[in-house]
Symmetry: C2
Subunit: 167 residues, 2 copies
């Protein structure tokens, strides 16, 4: 690895702060969504990704990529969403190993109903707090971190399309 053993004071401050962000941010997202929509952030994000896919349908593996999750984790979460009527699984005709997940009408409406409040939170914490310049910086920095965290970039560039509900 690298040579220097410890972090200097400045580096330590950055790191410590960032660790706090890593700790608090997911909790804040979960708290808002759980309170307002009885969804974890991961569940919401999964529904949101599905809502933007063509036909609102995606293969499990693709969805796992978009949500940066393991197939195991996604499988459990989709089962749960299915139980609640927000998603539906169907065997994929082209590849009989694969499974297609589709957002149901209820799932779509859930996303539509939930998105505004969630976007408000994201705006209030990130978008409206940082300057345009800082937002750009965060974008660049995140991309660099991701290149180390996920070298093969399984987490695709998030193909955009369609109309509303985004993240």
């Amino acid at each position: 690895m690298t040579d220097a053993k410890w972090l200097n004071d400045e580096q330590l401050v950055v790191w410590t702060r960032f660790v706090a962000v890593l700790q608090l941010f997911p909790a804040a997202l979960d708290a808002q969504l759980e309170r307002d929509a009885q969804l974890t952030h991961f569940e919401y994000f999964t529904l949101a990704m599905l809502s933007e896919a063509p036909q609102r349908t995606m293969r499990m593996t693709a969805l796992a990529g978009f949500t940066t999750a393991s197939l195991a984790r996604l499988s459990r979460v989709v089962s749960n969403l299915e139980k609640r009527g927000y998603a539906k699984r169907q065997p994929c005709p082209e590849d009989r190993r694969a499974t297609n997940v589709t957002l149901t009408q209820d799932g779509w409406q859930k996303v539509v109903a939930t998105a505004p409040g969630h976007v408000d939170l994201v705006r209030s914490i990130v978008i409206d707090t940082l300057t345009a310049e800082e937002l750009t910086q965060l974008s660049t920095i995140s991309a660099k971190l991701l290149s180390k965290l996920d070298p093969q970039a399984r987490m695709v560039a998030t193909a955009r399309s369609q109309t509303p509900p985004p993240v």
Copy 2:
């Protein structure tokens, strides 16, 4: 809340990327520490904070502040660390509601042994990946986010002192 309903494309990219970081970073930290030292990142961070406290001792509530955790969570983790001989609890004489946690000799050695490998990871993902300028930016941005995530700033500025093992 704010008025605009959706995020524009740029904002969406930033947010999506950042969500991926939020997802992958903790997993990477846990994976390295679990593999090399049979510790979660939260456990390691707890030990590291203790290692820098005067007397290597802190009240539960203070430690909860430094680790940005709830008392409930910390209590369980400290119990576990105690079972493994890395920490020790003692009733606080000044306030009989309170509990002091102390890093044991074993705990200290665990931190000393674990820190280098962990610092390597942190360097390789963050410190060495970003330019000095970007590090400063990340620091500023993190501070701004924290001001929203934790307005009362329970998470103190991480009083520094003593010698090695830092984070």
